[in-house]
């Protein structure tokens, strides 16, 4: 049970162009900023948005292939979809909600009830089987939505921000339960999320989606160690500089020079960790092993005994220094500052 998808789909300002393969039993988290096309991608896979070009293939069967005129309606795909706010049917009981997919596929009422009850038991909601959705808490509703999606034994499970609507306390519990269910699920699972914590806990692999493209894929540890997009860099809290390396110097498209220690020539990314950046008021100091960029302080955030200082100028950077250093330097918004980084503290890897 594997998924192979090549998707081209335009929707308003979104231009989605994605190639994605997911193996049976694998859970892939789609991470990305708002409007990057995560939900649209799920909807394409579910058949709720027919694709413009490409091919979606599940277990070797084409679901959507415009070039051959193949398009299977959502109800004929073996999928389970958990929507962001669960979209439970309010006028039905929990039991009827969970049994819905079985009944819709023509299963007899008694058998459908038996299977639905087994799933309600599995998600620990036997006491609520006769309740209607308005009587459920967010976490309970999420579990009903999951049971409803899984009861039909789908080949592919699609989860759109399954934890986003929950409060912090419930989130951890529901995340743990969801992890357990995903571990026993042998189909293809795709999970849209904003939260790297969810991706870390639930997914085997993450795919970073930005402006309709998958910009990076791999384990969360790989992806965060070598960010390849502004989004991931912000997520991890590091500065990311893209440019071309030549003879130990990375030059950005804007012409800013970053001295890097022995890096191979060619297009590359450089990661500058905020705590590797030193700040001083001597704006004329220069060195061959240290980078130094003059900038203006645009933002200061104090977090306990650390402070994050946002600098704009030749290179936009975020530096992290101790609050003691911050106070010693008497840094104010709008002050000119020299930010220095040792070349050996910069991570460089090919783009």
């Amino acid at each position: 049970m594997s998924l192979h998808a090549e998707i081209t789909h335009r929707l308003g300002t979104l231009d989605l162009q994605v190639e994605l393969d997911v193996q049976p039993g694998e859970v892939v988290a789609l991470l990305g900023p708002n409007g990057s096309g995560k939900t649209t991608l799920l909807r394409c896979l579910a058949g709720l948005c027919p694709i413009d070009a490409g091919r979606i293939e599940l277990n070797g069967v084409a679901l959507d292939e415009p070039s051959s005129g193949t398009l299977r309606a959502p109800e004929t795909r073996e999928i389970g979809f958990v929507f962001q706010d669960y979209t439970l049917f309010r006028q039905m009981t929990v039991l009827e909600n969970v049994a819905f997919g079985l009944r819709a596929r023509g299963m007899r009422a008694a058998e459908a009830r038996r299977m639905a009850t087994a799933w309600i038991d599995r998600v620990g909601l036997m006491d609520y089987a006769r309740q209607r959705p308005p009587a459920l808490s967010g976490g309970q509703a999420q579990r009903v939505a999951l049971a409803r999606a899984l009861v039909t034994s789908p080949s592919m499970l699609l989860l759109d921000e399954p934890l986003a609507a929950l409060d912090a306390g419930t989130r951890a519990t529901v995340r743990r339960d969801l992890r357990r269910h995903l571990a026993t699920f042998d189909g293809v699972a795709l999970l849209v999320t904003h939260d790297p914590v969810d991706a870390y806990a639930l997914a085997d692999r993450v795919a970073i989606l930005d402006a309709g493209r998958i910009v990076q894929t791999g384990t969360l540890a790989d992806v965060t160690a070598h960010p390849r997009s502004r989004y991931v860099a912000d997520l991890v809290g590091v500065n990311l500089v893209a440019g071309d390396v030549l003879e130990g110097v990375l030059t950005t498209p804007a012409g800013v020079r970053v001295i890097v220690a022995d890096a191979p020539a060619g297009p590359a990314f450089a990661v500058i960790r905020p705590h590797s950046i030193a700040l001083n008021r001597d704006v004329d100091a220069h060195s061959s092993v240290r980078n130094s960029w003059v900038g203006t302080i645009a933002e200061v955030d104090r977090l306990g005994d650390r402070a994050r200082v946002g600098i704009v100028g030749t290179l936009a950077l975020t530096a992290e220094i101790t609050t003691a250093a911050l106070d010693a330097l008497h840094l104010q918004l709008g002050d000119e500052i020299n930010a220095t980084v040792k070349a050996t503290d910069i991570d460089v890897y090919p783009a």
Binding site: E75, T76, R77, F83, T87, F89, F100, A149
Partner: protein, 274 residues
């Protein structure tokens, strides 16, 4: 809602205007009650002609409501969900009879479904079936003016409905027809009920289109509003009593149905209020 609290934020001029509006609607009723010949009321009501007219009114208006639901719900769905060129034009066309003088509607129906009408002539020739001046004609005239009320109400509800409920149903393996029956229809039930009651009330009070298209024959086409109008000439006292009967029936249904169908329970979906 707490009446005292809502009252405290309600500005005095608006209160006065609202009071005038209430008076505007209640005074005519009070006038009727004041002039009603209470000592003879029972005789007028149980009069054979009155009972016949009342019965005919109820039967025809229920039929008109049923037809409005059967054809109006799919029409509302088409207008709300299917994008096609000229949709605005079709919507205007199908709700025109809300704003048209009913007499004009009756005349128009005559030219469409009358014995010499564009469709009516074939009904007559091929099936020996005539609508004008029959009870079925009354139902057609009432449906013509009443259905738009249901269509407008149901279309609004369909537009407000979260489309992802239907998406969820499809991903669970439900065909579009199963989705419509099990998901869409239950979700719009309050609006459907409201629209049906509006349509029914409009059908019950229908006068102009009925008298133009179906005529005024006691027992077959003379509904209660028609007999009220007729009685005004011959026996004004009876007209008042029949008018009160019409008012009482409508009032009872509006109040009764509102409580049963429209008052939402705790935690229920937002209901469309009449």
């Amino acid at each position: 809602m707490n009446a005292r609290r809502s009252g405290s934020t309600f500005p005095a001029p608006a209160k006065a205007l609202a009071a005038i509006a209430v008076a505007f609607f209640s005074l005519p009723l009070i006038g009727l009650l004041w002039r009603a010949p209470w000592s003879h009321a029972a005789e007028y009501v149980t009069d054979d002609a009155s009972l016949t007219a009342l019965k005919l009114s109820l039967i025809c208006s229920v039929w008109a409501t049923a037809l409005s639901i059967v054809f109006g719900v799919p029409l509302a769905w088409l207008l709300a969900r299917v994008k096609f060129p000229g949709r605005r034009f079709v919507r205007a066309l199908c709700t025109l009879s809300m704003v048209l003088p009913p007499v004009v509607g009756g005349v128009a129906l005559f030219f469409a479904l009358g014995r010499r009408g564009i469709v009516g002539q074939y009904l007559d020739r091929w099936f020996d079936f005539r609508l004008p001046f029959t009870t079925a004609g009354v139902v057609v005239a009432q449906t013509f003016v009443a259905m738009p009320f249901l269509v407008v109400t149901v279309e609004a509800a369909l537009r407000q409905l979260d489309g992802r409920l239907e998406d969820a149903s499809r991903t669970l393996g439900a065909s579009s027809w199963y989705t419509f029956r099990r998901v869409t229809l239950p979700a719009i039930r309050p609006a459907l009920a409201a629209g049906a009651v509006l349509a029914w009330a409009r059908a019950l009070g229908e006068f102009g289109a009925t008298i133009t298209f179906a005529g005024n024959f006691p027992g077959t086409t003379q509904t209660l509003p028609l007999s009220v109008y007729l009685a005004l000439d011959t026996n004004p006292e009876q007209a008042i009593v029949l008018a009160l009967v019409l008012i009482a029936v409508s009032f009872a249904v509006l109040i009764g149905l509102r409580d049963r169908w429209f008052a939402g329970g705790e935690g229920e979906a937002p209901r469309v209020l009449l």
